[in-house]
Symmetry: C3
Subunit: 143 residues, 3 copies
């Protein structure tokens, strides 16, 4: 059994942004030389996500607009703001948005490749960005 | 360490449907002969889910109605439709519904069995079906 | 390759409550003596969650209020109650709330420690509690 650990650093241009990281994940698998196993990819922050969906610009916009409906930004101070904002933070919505989209994905590695369906792509979803953030990659399997 | 890979094919009768796949997953574990480890089960599509909940027909209906509230179907063309529909697709809602329900589950295998609580059952949740779809099973552990 | 299995029992004081279990998870890693690998932590019930976010009391309150908006409690009997309530259960909302928050988390173990970002903490989210509930811990990796 082999294990491999890598940390990606990402800084988004926008406060809220969805970035395709599939190529970087396949590169990590290549570096690990692991042929059969699994790969965990997770945000190391509690205001961003790693998730799998389709690479399509309209869909990425739909995700951001939909998340704004389900978990809206609320300015601070506000009588109807999030309790979390009493700490001085104003990113309560980012904690909730990340919850909808998920913290992590786990993927199969088969014959040294991400074992994916035809449309599966891996994304980093940032909800309070413009600062350097880390993504953890952990692979376990056999070379 | 041993690994085992299997692909299930499922075609639902309805466009949106929830199907219990627990028996098929336990059969894969039996075939793998792995006694201690973990099993990843994921949809290979970005419009369907694998998730764990209770086998109860009313609850399955609740899930579908609730998802329709949180991520409604929107006809195309429409001024308020999803951006994704500009590609010609009309399944924007399915991408969002699948996000709520999740892409994958990871389960423990103990003594050759799914290590489950009394009510845990594994489901495939289809949100744009009536076509053949694939579920990936990856097991890693010890025989 | 080594594996380690442990079951935690938790009984919340309140019907709906969020409890930090990070220390208990690190203790299980210590007991397992596994230095490199992964750890699965999942609720063994279909009305509660294991998830990762920030240890901040206001945020925990925000989560519970937000879940009540997205998946409200509905009394039984009611013409607009959940179908699930026809079984005699009245916890339909708990099944939906748990779905938003997730059943499980998978974390990396590096050098014998939870490989976490600065704010990551593991929580058990109970949505129909005041009874003993079980959390499964499964670790696989190398000592």
């Amino acid at each position: 059994m082999s294990t491999y650990t890598e940390y990606l650093t990402i800084q988004t241009n926008k406060e809220k942004e969805i970035i395709n990281i599939t190529n970087k994940i396949q590169q990590a698998i290549n570096k690990s030389k692991i042929k059969e196993g699994i790969i965990l990819i997770n945000s190391m922050h509690i205001i961003s996500s790693v998730f799998i969906n389709d690479e399509e610009s309209g869909l990425k916009q739909d995700f951001l607009e939909w998340l704004e409906e389900l978990a809206p930004y609320k300015p601070f101070p506000s009588p109807k703001g999030y309790h979390h904002h009493q700490t001085g933070e104003i990113n309560g919505d980012a904690h909730l948005k990340r919850t909808i989209m998920g913290r992590e994905v786990l993927c199969a590695i088969t014959q040294g490749q991400l074992d994916f369906g035809p449309w599966e792509q891996i994304f980093y979803g940032e909800f309070d960005g413009q600062r350097p953030k880390k993504i953890l990659i952990k692979i376990i399997g056999e070379k």
